[in-house]
Amino acid sequence: MKKSTKALIAGGIGVALLVGGAGTVSFWTDEAEGGDGVISAGTLDLGSPAGGGWEISHEGDGSGTATEPVAFDPSADQIVPGDVLSYTQSIPVTLEGENIKAEFNGSIDVTPSTDGTADTALSEAIESEDLAATGLTGATGDLSLDGETLAGEGDGSVEVTTTITFPWGTEGQYNDAKLGSLNFAVDYTLTQVPGN
């Protein structure tokens, strides 16, 4: 009895081993591949800035109400202390991607036209005030602008207004900047931010 119990146990282990070696058993199998698919990346693109409208107002020493902005022609008009210049451009943007979200930003680049004293003094006097996305035009898809952040997919143009100021200063502080000349440009950037 004791012997037959042992044999039975040994036999059980043998069967278990046979069953465990499934790869060698020739029962039916089948497999099927999923449908082919192409996964495409979206995009984030800034086009060439268009237009570029200048306006000028004058706030003087701040003691009165600033004048209403009027058109400014850089090739003919000149600035003086107390002036506020604004520059508005339209920058084409394209966002593609399910979870795309991007922040619009930029930096104002003011440099003296030459190494001359007046040009340098003018460039140093100018204060870069602000760069703000003021609106989105011609938007397609669900592209939207909230503050500086673009979300959704589509094309559109971001209206950006840059403001620089020639400060009033103290009496005679910017005399060196008389008849000075500066170069103005804006570097716009669009940077993806987490979409969640």
């Binding site: 060439s48 020493d61 008849l179 500066l182 170069n183 440009a185 950037t189």
Partner: protein
């Protein structure tokens, strides 16, 4: 793997994950940039000019007892003043409107003569027909100094005439409180009838300041 080791490994991998997340700048998120065209912006200027006419002889007072010899030049107490006309201009090349002052500075030609004449010297300005007396304090021991407020804003190209009259009254109260005949007091200081004797060397200037109020 003991329980203790497993926990340690989990903690290490979590820390590695945190480092990856923390290093946000290394994320290869998309970005694009575009640059606007460069525009040249120019500053204007503010330029003041001053032109002078005179001095000319101007009749003052109407005291019948004072008779002026024809052709007499210079200040005659109670009868004749000296007049300068200054034209201050905000240059047409200026890019801004400006207010300002005409700064008068007269250096005595003879310290001795000036000290005697000083109590009797009178000055006034006339701008756009409005006459204003210059206070006697403008005549200090060192000379004549006064700043005349132009009183208006000059746009680029605008000018303003400031008339300056220097005179002496016929009579005045001296430092002892006695009313005196000025001509008599200064008898020894007068010049020959057709001659002029300098009292001051004038060196005036115009100061324009950009108007602060828009």
């Amino acid at each position: 793997m003991s329980l203790r080791r497993a926990v340690f490994a989990a903690a290490v991998s979590a820390a590695a994950g945190a480092l990856l997340i923390g290093g946000g700048v290394t994320y290869a998120a998309w970005s694009d940039s575009a640059e606007s065209e460069s525009t040249t912006v120019q500053a204007g200027t503010l330029t003041a000019t001053i032109a002078q006419k005179g001095p000319t002889n101007e009749s003052t007072g109407s005291n019948p007892s004072i008779v002026v010899t024809s052709g007499s030049n210079g200040i005659i107490p109670g009868a004749q003043a000296q007049r300068w006309t200054y034209t201050v201009t905000n240059s047409a090349n200026s890019a801004t409107a400006a207010t300002g002052t005409l700064d008068i500075a007269g250096t005595p030609s003879s310290t001795d003569d000036y000290a005697v004449m000083r109590p009797y010297l009178r000055a006034s300005t006339t701008i756009n027909g409005t006459k204003k007396n210059i206070p006697d304090s403008a005549f200090s021991s060192s000379g004549f100094s006064y700043s005349v407020d132009l009183g208006k804003t000059l746009k680029p190209g605008d000018s303003l005439d400031i008339i300056l009259d220097l005179s002496m009254p016929a009579t005045a109260t001296n430092s002892a409180g006695k009313k005196v005949d000025v001509a008599v007091e200064l008898l020894n200081r007068r010049s020959a009838n057709l001659d002029v004797q300098s009292i001051f060397t004038m060196k005036n200037s115009a100061q324009l300041k950009q108007a602060g109020k828009p």
